[in-house]
Amino acid sequence: MLISRAPRFTSNDITDAKHYLTRREWMLGAAALTLLPGESAAATPQGEPLKAARNDAQSLREPATKFESATTYNNFYEFGVNKPDPARLAHTLKPRPWTVRVDGLVHKPKTHDIDDLLRLSPLEERVYALRCVEGWSMIIPWIGFPLASLLKRAEPTGQAKYAEFTTLLDPSQFPGQRSSLFGFSLDWPYTEGLRLDEALHPLTLLTVGMYGQVLPNQNGAPVRVVVPWKYGFKSAKSIVRIRLTSEQPATAWNKAAPQEYGFYSNVNPAVDHPRWSQATERRIGEFRRRPTLPFNGYADQVAPLYASLDLKKYY
């Protein structure tokens, strides 16, 4: 077994404010004086506030990434392939009215209205690490509740082994889904999948907010999942359907480049992306690269799920 039970973040991993400030000063130089207000780590959210008690047991003790960074540096191909596209085009998405269909191998399929979904289970805030497959990471205070609460209500049948998530398909709301000059796009709608035990894991969060407010459109409004021990693209955004299946579902990035994006895509510093190393990452807002942790630091909670799995083969 490659993956040791690595500790989660130790106090050494927490950036001391002193260093943080030195780095900021270095980055900004003399221009620090011209900094616009509202750029501190606790940036003022502009969206609709959403109250939730923090789940301390499931929260990292690390400063959150700047709200501005988390909402302007996004991979969300439904809006466009460049990082600023989602923030620029976010207004085209209409997160209300919205429904989420839970069906497939369940005894009680149901279409949930988004506002009912918000009241389905108590909302909690969880500060998770987010590791993008491209080699950068953020610390984000999400708001939501365990996906298990929703799935258990649907009563999965004995045959259910996987969960498939489908993102909204609507080129009028998602400009990136319109056919392009070169004919390329992901195979819309975006689908992602988890093994049922992964989907039911207490860390897997059905997410409706972040930074104390309703989820911004560019971050996957109105509802997404967050699976913190996997690369970011595994966490489907703007979900309209969750279907339980007996077969492993096809997933969007895996279809586009199977040798680069596996079905599991657990964060793993020992398994390189074919084109770059995954051993290190750049935490957004930091200067130096830092080592990437197995399962993104959640090994003690999720490594047992993969006890019998060759993680090099099932990357």
């Binding site: 980055m27 900004l28 130089g29 003399a30 221009a31 011209t34 900094l35 750029e39 990434t65 700047k66 501005e68 960074s69 988390a70 302007t72 540096y73 191909y77 392939v81 990082k83 600023p84 491209e134 950068w136 392009s180 000059l181 070169f182 390329f184 796009s185 992901l186 586009a256 480049a257 390189d272 084109r275 770059w276 190393s277 051993a279 290190t280 750049r282 957004i284 807002g285 200067f287 130096r288 690269r289």
Partner: protein
Amino acid sequence: MSRRVRLALKGVVWGVCLVPLATLVYWFARDDLTANPISFVTTTLGDWTLRILLASLAMTPIRLVLGVSWPITLRRLLGLFAFFYVCLHGSVWIVLDFFFDWPRMWEDILKRPYITMGMLGLLSLIPLAATSTAGMIKRLGARRWRRLHRLAYLAGVAGSIHFLWLAKVGRTDQYWYVATLALLLAIRLGDVALRAVRRRRERRGARVATASIRMP
């Protein structure tokens, strides 16, 4: 072409080529280099390296197609600016991205084809920059110098492949660079072929001429 016009053209190249760098410095001062400044600076410098390199490679084809000579006076300046930007691009990678972590960089150069290709492009520009002076042309001899400077095409090909291989699925701008390079190469190769045909025809013409002289 008058000296004044030539100087003006060079002034324009200086201006245009320094704008990207000045813009980066301005954004840096305003803390406006996106949430991932190092990645943004690296890609911006890489983009401009390739643009300026292709511009320098375009000078001869423009001369061939339009039949004007002024592009040649800009070729060296553009080439040197491409070298300048690739040095900045490489320095950011070494200093800001990997912070002198030589073993890891070396591993990446060997293991990641797109980095191998980028490094090949960078290295092939070094002898060109080193021999860019009039003195060096004289020392090498025009013929050898010209041959050496065909490396610029290798740099263009390596740079374009570097971009092609690193681009994520879904990006399309890399194809524009590849298409531009292909067009420029096609014009150069077309010119070589055309000249070969013309030379052969001239030779045959000369033979016919000599033959007709002997005739009587």
